[in-house]
Symmetry: C2
Subunit: 473 residues, 2 copies
């Protein structure tokens, strides 16, 4: 029965090998979307285009994503579809694919449409949109998470096998945690930003949501590549996510600096996840996390807000009413920041980078809860900014420090809510981070009832220290 078919790479590939048509999969994807009854997930549904593409694919071939349905956050261009960044007045029709979308198309993937987001990718909650707010796939009382709300919800429901999000401050990780799926945030510059509406151009990256680490990694390998047209693209080798021998060294926030805003279940679940890594042989070092919080505070309390202001251009001056009120409230202060403020921010960041580098000198990975706690729709309605800021506790600092990371489900907490760990590593160490994440992957596959296959690796098979350090800079 196609209705029970897991839209995982393995599930779809097997079904195709057994003769299932791509058209049937696309029809099923939209049936599932309709079944959610949620009008907020997509901004643009590309049902007919996707079906036409399905029919034109022909017989199965060796392309890595042949017939795989996905969705793209609506700040990423897909040729022939509108791009809105969740601002209707900003809408334009994309003549050509974003670089990454083009690579997915070449690999045989089929785009089902464009998904909802916090407007201009500013937010971690998913409610800052003039379109209907998507419902969290696992618990509708909780915010869907953002800014890549629709992309995360679509995967969690099993509508799409994977999705493209973006991640500047955590938009590719927070919604993964809130919807019980994987969120892969690559090293900056590995996934081209050509065809992406910028949020903070120096800190933006496209990100990938999927049900499993293996699926996210397979998509990442296909999407990654140097892009001559993107000045922030970097020539980083994509490592193999392979097993080898060695001791894994992990840093975690110490008890004093771990923040869960009183959510003991979150702290307990995180400590249990780390304990299981220790049991597998990882060496765990507890560190004072304050310098990372200090970096995080630069993003919205410091000069980088002006990047968002720059990104919306004259809209704040000429047509402020076209912005979501919360988005406007966040971005407007960027107008009054000075260039002196900006450079002082850069100096402060450089000082903090040095301190953070020292804290991580003897470790391969930094492990954190993806989110400190959960935020309800009720809470964010009462206070549109405070709870949003809290959600960025373990994500805001990451791109400022040029780290890569992956958020992975770690099974359910005592209260049944999804647990999520984020594994962070130095720029270029994406494969090592993903391999470690795969060792703790657990729990339901998003909001589905699909069975999880056993993880591919354990920590004893990962030798972080033996992975060549890539040249970043």
């Amino acid at each position: 029965m196609i209705r029970e078919l897991p839209f995982t790479l393995a599930g779809l590939r097997q079904a195709y090998a057994e003769g299932l048509s791509v058209e049937a999969v696309i029809e099923e994807a939209f049936r599932r979307l309709d079944a959610t009854g949620d009008p907020g997930i997509f901004i643009h549904q590309a049902r007919e285009t996707a079906l036409a593409e399905a029919r034109s694919l022909g017989n199965p071939d060796s392309r890595p994503l042949w017939g795989i349905p996905y969705v793209a956050k609506d700040n990423i261009d897909v040729a022939g579809m509108p791009t809105t960044a969740a601002c209707p007045d900003f809408e334009y029709f994309a003549d050509s694919d974003a670089f990454v979308v083009g690579r997915l198309r070449q690999a045989g993937a089929i785009c089902l449409g464009k998904t909802n987001l916090d407007q201009f990718a500013t937010g971690l909650v998913g409610v800052r949109t003039p379109y209907p707010v998507p419902l969290n796939a696992v618990d509708p009382e909780i915010v869907p998470g953002g800014s890549s709300s629709g992309s995360a919800v679509a995967v969690s429901h099993g509508v799409a096998c994977f999705s493209l999000g973006t991640d500047t401050a955590g938009s590719g990780r927070v919604p993964a945690a809130l919807n019980g799926i994987v969120g892969l945030k690559p090293s900056l510059g590995v996934l081209s930003g050509s065809g992406l509406v910028p949020a903070c151009r120096t800190l933006d990256t496209i990100s990938i949501f999927a049900m499993t680490v293996a699926d996210a990694w397979a998509v990442f390998e296909t999407a990654a590549g140097y892009d001559q047209a993107d000045a922030y693209s970097r020539q980083l080798p994509v490592q193999q996510m392979s097993a080898s021998q060695g001791t894994v060294r992990i840093a975690v926030p110490d008890d004093t600096s771990l923040k869960t805003f009183g959510d003991m279940a979150q702290a307990d679940h995180f400590r249990a996840t780390i304990a299981s890594l220790r049991t597998q042989g990882a060496v765990v070092q507890e560190i004072d996390f304050q310098p990372f919080y200090d970096v995080a505070s630069l993003l919205y309390e410091g000069a980088w807000v002006a990047e968002r202001t720059a990104a919306v251009g004259n809209r704040l001056i000429d047509a402020p009413q076209t912005l979501h009120p919360t988005t406007r409230a966040i971005i407007e202060p960027g107008l009054s920041l000075t260039a002196v403020d900006a450079f002082r921010g850069l100096y402060k960041l450089q000082d903090l980078r040095r301190i953070c580098d020292e804290l991580l000198a003897e470790t391969d990975f930094l492990c954190v809860p993806t989110i400190p706690t959960f935020v309800s729709v009720e809470e964010i309605t009462a206070d549109p900014i405070g709870p949003n800021s809290g959600l960025g506790t373990y994500t805001n600092f990451v791109n400022l420090l040029d780290l890569c990371g992956i958020a992975v489900p770690t099974g359910l907490r005592q209260d049944g809510r999804p647990g999520s760990l984020t594994v962070l590593a130095r720029c270029g160490q994406d494969a090592a981070a993903a391999a470690l994440a795969a060792t703790v992957e657990a729990g339901p596959l998003g909001a589905t009832t699909w069975a999880r296959q056993k993880p591919a690796l354990t920590t004893s098979e990962i030798a972080a220290g033996e992975i060549a350090v890539a040249v970043c800079g």
Copy 2:
């Protein structure tokens, strides 16, 4: 006769080996200074301190700079001396040495005092100072060059064996060209900035003046080192300036984009120098230089002015009359630049970096005239800003592109003025650039009559392609 003793490393070491006292050398240094009759070279003379240090040195030892007299630009701290940055109201007494000064002290060098500069290191002419303007050592009708004016003039006169300058926009290269000496501008982050008054903190480096490439390199090797306290310090290996085999590939501005402001002697001399490199076996590629000029224009016409504004703190608001009028005119516009301007400047630079990287993809070195032409004191008096900007034609872009460079005398032009070539290379390739510069080193040793020893290397002995690429970033 000590009066004829060349204050080169070889000259002084031989004299010490033959029994000359350090005290006598220090006395001679100040005699030479007095003989110049120029009150503008030093801001602070440390005669008694230097003599006391000379006496305390004891017998010659193996330290690399034992008994070597030098001077430091007065924006670099020397313990027990005032630092003014050529702004009397800014003056403070330094309790401790700048990191680099400390290394020189440990190596046995003796500081004669602090030298004049364009105030707050803003300028390339040397006349933007409330103190007497130093006279150019080879031709008093020409500006001394800046901002490291006194440091260059002192070396050119043979008062000091070497000197410390700084170089953000060309302050360590332009005065070298104007005074017929060597100016070594290291890769950013190799010489610590601890104890340096910032100009543009993201682009500043300490630089070294000496009579010869060999002497500048010896000082550089001693001064270089990672500094935990400077967030911009980088762990770059200092290569050996050694000979090996291979083809040297050099890019130069093509005829259309070479700018000498009508100074044909400068263009001819530059082309002759490049021809001699070609004769020695170098492969020369002519490139359109416009993208480099576009980068250069960012420094003073773009957001980076705000770094200088940040560096003077509240002085522009609280005590603007304490600034040199020209310095104030340059720095004041930084107050009205916005953070959006700053980030747009960073984006523009990133775009231009990509273009420049492509132009240099097939080359090891970029060779340019150090200055496009000469500027007279009369000209800069008539127009304090225009001719200064012209002097930065081949220097302003260098730190923005994270290149290293060395300005080297290349003999006299047809009209008797000093010729100077700047060899630029990628970050970390300081040794290779110095080795190439040594092959074209020629002409008088500054304003002295000392004999030049034959150069150590020829291009056929330098294998740029074989030098390991250092990790920059």
